[in-house]
């Protein structure tokens, strides 16, 4: 017998699971969030904090649309979290740059943005700016930069305060948040609903289960008959000493956090489950940042870290309902910070199968089966 029954149980207490829980709680559901151990790989604790639209979904219109909706929903979402928890997220959506030192890469990215523009029409805007014009706007930019792209919809947020605010909001709305609650097995219960087993052998019963376990998703997905598997992609980041100087621009690789430090990031590597940082990558990040903004040369880095992105096979989100086990759902994505407001709102309608639920068909896992067969 399951030890207790609750309406919906979310496996995973990162930003994705907490947002999903928050939306359901606001809709009046009873929600339990089961989160794993402190040593788990947790993208929500190591990310860059961008709320970013530029370039998203250039090859996949539904993702461009989804991201556009999310970015537009951020101001109200941040205000709601501030209301409920008193935690300010330092959201700033005043636009962002991508800087290029290689003209071919700039041209390729500009072509991506053209495609994104075609998908989104007047819901998007972007500019291509050559190096000299850029330096007239921002004299801090170094001579190695050949040009930049700019999107007025881009922004950033303090990602650690986002995580804290989400936890507080879930608790404030009556959610049951269990930490160090690693789920090892999940199965349909004989009398309906699901039966979850923890590492210590104790169990937990629930009517519905939503799998949001980040890099812990794959094994549980298999048990529920989902075909989605996720893999880790390592990113390394640096943060400098705090500065009184305010960086006059935001970019996807250099951003100033509200407390004053400059965060530098953007690397991608397949390193398996290893989230350690490496000296050569850190040096490369620092070099790149100094070539973009030479005045950073004497600013000191105080911390560096690696974190693992949660990547689906094609890099786009997966929102899947189990056909075999009704009541079981799988939710995973990269860019869970950017998409947070949607996971706490329209995803709720989709989980509850409300009549106003968005069509998330394009994000079903059947797309992997199709591409496998092709």
């Amino acid at each position: 017998m399951p030890a207790q029954a609750s309406d919906t149980t979310i496996i995973g207490g990162g930003v994705v699971g907490l947002c999903t829980a928050l939306g359901l709680l606001q809709a009046g559901r009873r929600v339990t969030v089961l989160d794993g151990a402190d040593g788990d790989l947790r993208a929500s604790q190591g990310n860059f904090g961008l709320v970013w639209l530029q370039g998203k979904g250039a090859g996949f219109a539904p993702y461009a649309e989804l991201t556009r909706d999310a970015v537009a929903a951020w101001p109200n979402f941040a205000a709601m979290l501030q209301d409920v928890t008193g935690t300010g997220l330092s959201l700033d959506q005043s636009g962002g740059f991508e800087f290029f030192t290689d003209p071919v890469e700039l041209a390729d990215f500009a072509a991506d943005l053209e495609r994104q523009q075609a998908y989104l029409g007047n819901r998007f805007s972007h500019e291509i700016i050559d190096g000299d014009k850029l330096r007239r706007m921002h004299p801090q930019i170094g001579p190695a930069v050949v040009g930049a792209t700019f999107c007025a919809h881009d922004g950033h947020v303090n990602p650690l305060r986002l995580l804290r605010a989400l936890r507080r909001a879930v608790l404030a709305l009556g959610g049951d948040l269990k930490t160090d609650a690693h789920v090892t097995a999940v199965a349909e219960a004989p009398g309906g609903g699901f039966d979850l087993t923890f590492r210590d052998g104790t169990r937990h019963g629930t009517d519905r289960v939503v799998l949001c376990a980040g890099l812990g998703t794959s094994s549980l997905a298999a048990q529920l008959g989902f075909s989605t598997r996720v893999y880790p992609q390592r990113g390394e980041l640096l943060i400098t000493e705090k500065l009184g100087y305010r960086l006059p621009f935001l970019s996807s690789t250099i951003r100033q956090v509200d407390e004053g430090g400059i965060q530098i990031g953007g690397t991608k590597a397949d390193a398996g489950p290893d989230d350690s940082e490496t000296l050569d990558v850190m040096a490369g990040l620092a070099r790149q940042a100094v070539s973009v903004m030479p005045a950073l040369a004497d600013v000191r880095v105080v911390r560096a870290w690696g974190a693992l992105r949660v990547m689906s096979p094609d890099g786009y989100p997966v929102y899947a309902r189990s056909a075999r086990h009704p009541g079981a759902y799988l939710v995973t994505c990269h860019s869970g910070v950017t998409l947070a407001p949607l996971h706490a709102s329209v995803l709720t309608d989709w989980l509850d199968e409300n009549s106003n639920a968005p069509d998330l068909e394009a994000f079903d896992e059947t797309r992997f089966a199709i591409s496998d067969a092709a």
């Binding site: 004299p139 705090k242 500065l243 009184g244 100087y245 407390e259 950073l296 004497d298 105080v302």
Partner: protein, 106 residues
């Protein structure tokens, strides 16, 4: 208790190192760290944090970053990880450091 009385002098510390703190003379023992020298000197705040509160060295082992101070023109130097040297110019920090303005803002 005067802060200085909490610190014993190592037997091998002979001689005096002459430095300045905000332009005023300050002496220390060879082998001291900047943070130890400042604590022995007065124990007063050596910087202000982001929110304006007073700070000085705390962990003495490179972890807490509370001992940040300007050393020979280099701001945010960890005093507890820096050995004293003759002629060293120390400045207490108020607020956050700037960056090289000549490059930064036209």
């Amino acid at each position: 208790m005067k802060p200085a009385s909490r610190f014993l002098t190592r037997p091998d510390q002979v001689g005096v190192v002459h430095m300045t703190l905000d332009g005023e003379a300050l002496t220390a023992r060879p082998g001291d760290t900047v943070a130890a020298a400042l604590l022995a000197h007065s124990g007063a705040a050596s910087r202000q944090s982001v929110n304006g509160s007073s700070r000085t060295a705390f962990c003495m082992m490179g972890v807490c970053f509370d001992c940040l101070i300007e050393v020979d023109g280099q701001p945010n130097t960890q005093g507890c990880m820096t050995l004293v040297r003759d002629g060293m110019a120390l400045r207490r920090q108020r607020g956050l450091r700037d960056i090289a303005r000549s490059d930064a803002d036209a």
